[in-house]
């Protein structure tokens, strides 16, 4: 995943540097929404950037996902526009979500030490949306879809005793979280490369 960002940036830069050869544009999408699942409804925020050509958008993005456990999804973003004036679109995002700000170490009465560590996992989001054209190159997107995130959690209970070694409980959790995601997005083009 570490190589994805520079590669995509390179792709974007190369698109900028190329002479106009197709109906391409550099496009950014900023989204805010709600992830609703069995456990809760929590806010999400995303940003994607990429290239739009021949009704396809391909880009990369990152976000903040607070559903159950805080994660930062990093993903590839693929979209297909269709309909009159491209008012409808399908989107799919696939990547990896990185846990953040979940880890903790605390003691209970100095007798038990609890260590909480999280591991990342697969991130998927796919759905359908509707585009409302605003002024100039700005558009408002409404979308809904199914999202899935996977992550793991290692919890260790270390019990204090008078002399070591002391008892220990270790728990490994694997979470597979499905949600319906509704987003409202602001989409804009930086420049029209074929114009």
């Amino acid at each position: 995943m570490r190589f994805l960002i520079p590669i995509c940036l390179l792709v974007c830069c190369s698109v900028y540097s190329q002479k106009p050869a197709c109906s391409c544009s550099f496009q950014s999408i900023l989204s805010a929404g709600l992830a609703a699942g069995k456990s809760a409804a929590m806010p999400i925020f995303q940003g994607s950037a990429g290239v739009n050509f021949n009704n396809y958008f391909i880009g990369i993005g990152a976000g903040i996902d607070a559903y159950r456990y805080n994660t930062i999804p990093i993903f590839a973003d693929l979209r297909r526009d269709f309909g009159k004036k491209n008012t409808a679109f399908l989107y799919s995002q696939a990547g990896y979500n990185i846990p953040y700000n979940n880890e903790s170490v605390h003691n209970i009465f100095g007798a038990t030490r609890i260590t909480d560590k999280f591991g990342g996992g697969l991130y998927l989001d796919a759905g359908i949306g509707y585009r409302i054209h605003l002024k100039g190159s700005h558009r408002l997107l409404l979308s809904t879809g199914y999202s899935y995130k996977k992550l793991s959690n290692n919890v260790t209970y270390s019990y204090r005793c008078i002399t070591a070694p002391c008892g220990e409980d270790r728990y490994y959790y694997e979470y597979s979280l499905g949600r319906i995601i509704t987003k409202i997005s602001w989409e804009f083009n930086k420049r029209r490369m074929a114009d």
């Binding site: 456990s39 409302i132 409404l142």
Partner: protein, 426 residues
């Protein structure tokens, strides 16, 4: 807004409501718990093995005693490492004396005394490479017991080790965790006793050698004084190889450390420091007491002052972390002269006017104590979690969580690391 836009917006808003009940969160949970199974040997087998066996790596260091060129380092509940310290820059671990259940030690002449669960052993260490068990006194420490009140399946056998067993089971994610999910299991620690595990090191000067400030065994002339439960047990060791119980004096529960000076015993307890007069060696008599808040408090003393470190946390409770210096002009009523704030002080040692304090994770601190009203920090060795220190003959022996350090303090403003014996917990 165009009608199609309204329809699209409405549809997209309704879809999540309809489908949110279709999605689910799934959770798999694996629970791995550890418990310990005792390994037994008969008492005869254990006695036969109390000798100089092959050296072992230090894993869980306990109290320490220096005698001549040798360091005797307790391996908690396992035995005693014999370390040839002729060259403090290059100490050599030469042997290991297997003594299951041992936590404390003291040396008089050529005899090492150590506890073995409820028993006391006397070992001839004339030649530390080939030590010989001389006597075993049974049932001296009735307060010793295994963790969880576990007594073993056979009182004649001795637990020499615990084998860790890990078991992994799949559980429902709804099951509670940790202490709320014991399922009737019992976690057995290797042993339990009335002294905290962090009571490392010992601090007394006698004919046999020197220990640190956190000892529960100490010697004055021909008597071995041992803290056992709420009591001071007195052993007559005029015949070194044959200690005999000669007296018992009850002090209070929570007594933790004992330090001798001249004909006085300074006893650190969680609620204060006690001074006992041993003019009559078999009958210690309380000469004074200084009460303080409920914390752990190793103590050392000289002609004029007692130095008491008070620390909080876990088994010690309380919220006080400081050095108290007490005036001993009137032994029946020691008075607080001055307190110095510290982080988490443990053991301490004093050589002439140089005071060494193990300040837990804040390392080792060296003070000029020529004016007790104005201690001057001379050096601060950080980067180690220190328990106890013995300063002797210009070498400071420091027990820390990650090893046994030796520092040259010829220049008290700049301690020089001579050596480190690392701890290997596998």
């Amino acid at each position: 807004m165009k009608p199609i836009t309204k329809i699209a917006a409405l549809t997209l808003a309704i879809l999540p409501v309809i489908f949110s009940s279709c999605v689910k969160d799934s959770c798999k949970k694996m629970h791995t718990y550890s418990y310990f199974v005792p390994v037994y040997k008969t008492k005869d087998e254990v006695k036969a093995n109390i000798r100089s066996n092959s050296p072992k790596e230090v894993a869980y260091p306990g109290k320490i005693y220096i005698r001549g060129n040798y360091i005797f380092l307790n391996e908690i509940n396992k035995g005693i490492h014999v370390i040839d310290n002729s060259n403090p820059s290059q100490p050599v671990n030469i042997a290991f004396i297997d003594i299951p259940g041992t936590l404390d030690l003291a040396v008089k002449g050529n005899t090492l005394y150590a506890d073995m669960y409820t028993d006391l052993v006397a070992i001839d260490i004339t030649n530390p490479g080939t030590v010989v068990l001389k006597k075993l006194v049974e049932n001296i420490f009735p307060h010793r017991y295994y963790g969880g009140g576990f007594l073993g399946s056979n009182a004649q056998d001795i637990i020499i080790d615990w084998v860790r067993k890990d078991t992994t089971v799949m559980e429902s994610c709804d099951n509670p965790r940790g202490i709320f999910n014991m399922d009737g299991r019992v976690f057995l620690s290797t042993a339990n006793n009335t002294s905290p595990a962090s009571s490392l090191g010992s601090g007394t000067l006698n004919s046999g050698g020197q220990g640190g400030s956190m000892a529960r065994f100490t010697l004055i002339r021909d008597r071995l004084y041992i803290l056992s439960g709420a009591d001071i047990d007195v052993f007559n060791v005029s015949n070194e190889h044959s200690p005999t119980l000669s007296g018992t004096t009850t002090v209070t529960w929570d007594i933790e450390t004992i330090y001798p000076f001249l004909d006085k015993l300074f006893i650190g307890a969680r609620n204060g420091m006690y001074i006992y007069d041993v003019s009559n060696p078999d009958v210690p008599v309380q000469a004074g007491k200084f009460a303080h808040v409920r914390v752990c408090d190793p103590v050392i003393a000289d002609n004029t002052y007692a130095y008491v470190t008070l620390r909080s946390g876990s088994e010690c409770q309380g919220f006080t972390n400081q050095l108290d210096i007490l005036q001993l002009n009137n032994l029946s009523n020691p008075s607080l002269l001055k307190s110095y704030k510290l982080k988490n002080p443990h053991g301490l040692s004093k050589d002439d006017n140089t005071l060494f304090i193990c300040d837990g994770a804040d390392g080792l601190k060296v003070y000029n104590a020529s004016d007790v009203n104005n201690l001057q920090l001379l050096d601060h060795v950080s980067g180690m979690d220190t328990y106890d220190v013995i300063a002797y003959n210009k070498v400071a022996l420091v027990v820390a969580k990650d090893g046994l350090y030796q520092y040259d303090y010829t220049n008290t403003s700049s301690l020089k690391l001579l050596s480190k014996i690392s701890i290997n917990k596998q």
